[in-house]
């Protein structure tokens, strides 16, 4: 259903690095490397799933892509334009390209503003989008209708809506600036199961009608499997595996991905393989292990894993399925190093 061609790239990220200065811990370390050389591509109308556990850097990545943080190095290009070299009006114009839907439908909306105010808020800063108050009011009603809410509810406050309806409101607000990309940060995690399906269906419909690309962050692997065309797995600030969804889920190349897939509880009994229970906890991002970051918890780790960052190898899915590992799992073509991007 979706076009997998990469020639029409709406987002291109190369070597993105972001370090935070934090109060020094016991060993005197104060540099938190949240992102360490991230490469990413997103095609038009495509959904990229982003999975990873706490401390992997996916929130920092989302915030950097939303231009809420400045990266230390690396480039981000939206249809070829880099926002971090721009200022003022240029930067403002690029902000329209990407918007965000947040996880918490209760915290992401100001409970003292009406639905109409919430949706129209982006236009206060981007005044050139509409000429008159009437145009704005009409568009508010259109957007409410588009996300499946009643336009007559525009004067209600968020607490008068249910959780699922509030999330729809958040989606309407994200659509207000006509973005090409929407970053969905755990958009359904805080919703009831019966409502999750409704919101996922809405996101799907909007993508079909408007051609929006999604970066879909979620910890719920079954949801990611359902919505994403391609999946990227992050661990401690690096991308450890990326590829088409079915490839990554069915034949994971990286041991971490393998453990993640096995750990997720599955509804269907036949889908449950033997459990891989990882030992220990995620190392502190202040002091990541040398070489391959996953080696401290990896069952297949050897001495070479501590030496340097593992090379990119091709996984079972072909050239679009890449993992960083010295001992990749599944059918691998070790001889040909993958090209970045």
């Amino acid at each position: 259903m979706f076009d997998h061609a990469q020639s029409d790239r709406v987002l291109e990220v190369r070597g993105l690095t972001k370090t935070f200065k934090v109060p020094a811990n016991k060993e005197g370390r104060s540099q938190l490397r949240a992102l360490d050389g991230i490469d990413l591509d997103l095609g038009r109308g495509e959904t990229l799933g982003l999975v990873g556990e706490s401390g992997c850097g996916k929130s920092t990545l989302a915030r950097t892509l939303m231009m809420l943080e400045r990266p230390d190095s690396g480039t981000v290009r939206w249809d070829g334009a880099d926002p971090f070299v721009l200022k003022g009006k240029g930067l403002l114009a690029l902000r329209r390209k990407v918007q965000m839907v947040f996880q918490d439908p209760y915290a992401s909306l100001n409970s003292r503003m009406t639905a109409a105010d919430i949706i129209a808020e982006p236009w206060r800063t981007h005044r050139d989008l509409f000429r008159s108050k009437r145009d704005r009011a009409a568009r508010v009603r259109e957007l409410l209708h588009l996300v499946g809410l009643r336009p007559s509810d525009e004067h209600r406050y968020p607490q008068e809506f249910s959780g699922g309806q509030r999330q729809r409101l958040g989606i309407a607000r994200a659509l207000a600036l006509n973005p090409s990309v929407i970053i969905c940060d755990e958009p359904v995690s805080a919703l009831d199961l019966s409502v999750q399906a409704q919101v996922l269906n809405l996101l799907n419909d909007l993508q079909e009608q408007l051609g929006i690309s999604y970066i879909f962050i979620s910890h719920d692997l079954s949801v990611v499997r359902h919505v994403a065309d391609r999946v990227t797995v992050m661990y401690l600030g690096r991308i450890v595996e990326t590829g088409a969804t079915d490839d990554v889920f069915d034949t994971p190349a990286h041991p971490y991905t393998e453990a993640l897939m096995s750990a997720a509880p599955k509804l269907a009994a036949e889908a449950r393989a033997s459990r891989i229970i990882l030992e220990g906890e995620v190392p502190s991002p202040l002091n990541p292990p040398s070489g391959c970051r996953f080696r401290t918890r990896c069952r297949h780790a050897t001495e070479i894993c501590a030496t340097s960052t593992p090379p990119a190898v091709i996984g079972a899915g072909g050239t679009s399925h890449i993992a960083e590992c010295y001992h990749p799992r599944g059918a691998v073509d070790l001889g040909v190093p993958a090209l970045a991007g």
Binding site: R124, L146, L175, Q209, L210
Partner: protein, 333 residues
């Protein structure tokens, strides 16, 4: 493709129409929206407090016109009359002072002066403190540090000493008193506003506003201030008590309100030497101060719970149970 390109006769949109009805039962009027005044009436103690404060305000506005010159007419024949003696006439029901002036009338006129000092002082300090605090808390970093240190400096001066010095150097007029009281109270609002603003600026809906490219001033006006307002009002109500008492202290020391102006604090001070013989001279103004400050405190405590939608449920619990340690295990079969 853009949103403009969607024709409304599209099948998909029609499908969405169905979804809208099935997933959107009419958003019922919020059942929990009991109007504030009705919530107030349910709490008897808070209602009494509010009534008293309204009475005080009305007396301050209209009282002096009603009592006329009874507060200033001296009549040495009626000097130091005891209260509650109907033989002396209704104007003297609370007794008279050494110069024969009606206590009741003087209380009424003093009410106006006291409020004329307390209310502007609170308003001024609230305005300056909250604006600076919101700005400092939102931006954090250097701005926050500087603002907090200024607040520290103001707070580290013993306020009464500062007032004494200033009012001794400049004449103690009402305007000067208001000014000095306002300055010493600024840190309270500054710190409150800064703390809330610092917490609010990390909220997700503020982040969302930043993603639109909204500027900080716009965000503060739209998001920070409306949420901060109830807290500010609560703090201001409590601060009002403090300012009233501070003014009383200054007047007691002789550097506050100067005669022939009169305030409750000054009345207490003037009655000091007669405590053995004419106790009512200090008692009634003192009582007025106590009643007003206690009412304001009670109302502020109620308002703090009532204006917070998350805490409102406490008002439906009996007062004694509100702070009970163990939940009641009541089983009524």
């Amino acid at each position: 493709m853009s949103i403009d390109a969607i024709p409304h006769t599209d099948d998909r949109v029609a499908e969405l129409e169905f979804v809208a009805d099935a997933t959107n039962p009419p958003v019922a009027p919020p059942r929990n929206k009991v109007p504030l005044w009705r919530m107030l009436l349910r709490d008897r103690l808070a209602t009494i407090a509010a009534a008293i404060l309204v009475l005080v305000l009305l007396v301050a506005i209209f009282g002096p016109y009603l009592v006329g010159d009874a507060a200033t007419d001296q009549n040495l024949d009626e000097s130091n009359l005891a209260p509650f003696d109907p033989a002396n006439g209704w104007m003297n029901i609370l007794g008279t002072d050494p110069l024969g002036r009606s206590m009741l009338a003087r209380l009424v006129v003093a009410c106006r002066t006291t409020l004329m000092v307390a209310l502007p002082a609170v308003a001024l300090s609230c305005l300056i403190g909250s604006v600076v605090g919101m700005w400092a808390g939102y931006h954090r970093g250097v701005r926050e540090t500087v603002a907090m240190r200024i607040a520290d400096v103001i707070m580290s001066f013993p306020s009464l000493l500062l007032a004494v010095v200033v009012l001794y150097v400049f004449a103690p007029s009402i305007a000067n008193i208001v000014l000095i009281l306002a300055i010493t109270r600024i840190p309270v609002y500054l710190r409150t506003a800064r703390a809330e603003s610092a917490e609010l600026q990390s909220r997700i809906f503020v982040d969302a506003a930043r993603t639109f490219g909204a500027r900080s001033g716009s965000i503060i006006r739209l998001h920070v201030f409306p949420i901060l307002l109830p807290t500010l009002l609560t703090v201001a109500t409590l601060d009002f008590c403090y300012v009233m008492l501070a003014e009383s202290s200054l007047s007691f020391l002789g550097i506050g309100i100067q005669p022939p102006d009169i305030s409750w604090g000054l009345m207490v001070s003037q009655g000091r030497t007669y405590l053995q013989t004419a106790w009512w001279l200090s008692f009634f103004p003192g009582l007025a101060i106590v009643i007003t400050t206690v009412s304001a405190t009670v109302l502020a405590a109620w308002a703090r719970i009532a204006t917070d939608p998350g805490q409102r449920w406490r008002l439906s619990v009996k007062r004694s149970a509100r702070t009970r340690l163990f939940p009641s295990r009541k089983v009524s079969k």
